[in-house]
Symmetry: C2
Subunit: 210 residues, 2 copies
């Protein structure tokens, strides 16, 4: 499962950043494994496949590891992104810190609501959707964050593809039907809730089985 490996790498990165900020220079596979909840064997296997080198007795150099993991996920090369849909969720993302080391930089934001178009959100002037095509072309936008209502999601996605977007980060609870060449990453918030529901049921079972 390739996806599981990516999630592990993201997890490593998060803890490596914490360790570096705590002033640490090196980390062993054992310590990193403990922090992310894996076996040291698993960690060493992952690092093996990335060809990073460590030293017996001292472990891995954190800065080496970070650079390697960053480049594995291609987070160092910034891809131009736009955001469509400046409702509450769109605003939350525009003002959030997620853009910092994510591999993307937010270049423009769009909406259709006349009350919102023209306003400024975290230094971005909200543009009308009719400008979308031109901006995507002139600024070589590679990806879009889609935070419009579910009912509009498919139409807007089609517009994005027509404009030349290659990848969509989709927050609408809709299965977008798009050419297979387009990369879609669905961020299904309700899945988190369902997973929580299941976890709570499990705990209850364990507790009540005494």
């Amino acid at each position: 499962m390739q996806r599981a490996r990516i999630f592990r790498i993201e997890s490593y990165l998060q803890h490596l950043t914490e360790l570096r900020e705590a002033g640490r220079g090196t980390v062993t596979s054992e310590e990193l494994a403990n922090r992310v909840g894996l076996s040291s064997s698993r960690v060493r296997q992952d690092l093996l496949s990335l060809k990073v080198e460590g030293k017996p007795r001292t472990g891995y150099k954190i800065s080496d590891l970070e650079i390697l993991l960053y480049s594995e996920l291609d987070l160092l090369r910034e891809k131009a992104m736009i955001l469509v849909g400046c409702g509450n969720l769109g605003r939350a993302l525009i003002f959030s810190g997620i853009w910092e080391h994510s591999g993307f930089s937010l270049k423009a934001v769009f909406d259709t609501n006349a009350q919102v178009v023209g306003s400024i959100l975290n230094d971005h002037t909200v543009r009308h959707m009719r400008e979308l095509h031109g901006v995507v072309r002139s600024e070589s936008i590679a990806a879009a964050c889609l935070t419009v209502p579910a009912a509009a999601a498919q139409d807007v996605a089609n517009m994005l593809v027509n404009a030349g977007i290659r990848a969509i980060w989709n927050f609408a609870p809709v299965d977008l039907k798009l050419p297979t060449t387009i990369i879609v990453e669905n961020q299904r918030l309700e899945q988190g809730l369902m997973t929580l529901s299941y976890a709570m049921k499990e705990i209850q079972h364990v507790a009540s089985s005494h």
Copy 2:
């Protein structure tokens, strides 16, 4: 990997709902598999473990399947939830449709900002954090959605645990340190971006290898 199975079940549910809304009464393992991108064998194995029964030649009854999957994730028993942090993200969730079949019902929302406390968001009057403890106790709140700034997340999480909360749906990019009996489901939005970054790099590699 237990988590992968839960995600499959969530995925089945989504497509079963679509099929039912399209007027369909039954579905074969083959069709469901095609829709969610799995093998029919995998689907039958999952259904086998849930003890659902189908009929050769016609497949599975959609309504049976839905009820079974709903109860497997415990989505039919509504757990009382609160939301803490009525910023953009909190508002997005308060106004969203995710609460409908998620196993939770939103009972109260909280903030500390005097400008927000007292206002009404989708029928919920925003309460001050000092009311938290009392509300959790008197309304038997089981879970909380945490949408406060990262810097406040650990403190608020501690308050939630003190008040008696058993589970937290955490949107702050912070590793909460809590008793092991507390269930934490982290919703790491930046992971979606990183995954997208990696997927775009992969596609590029495939494309450029011609």
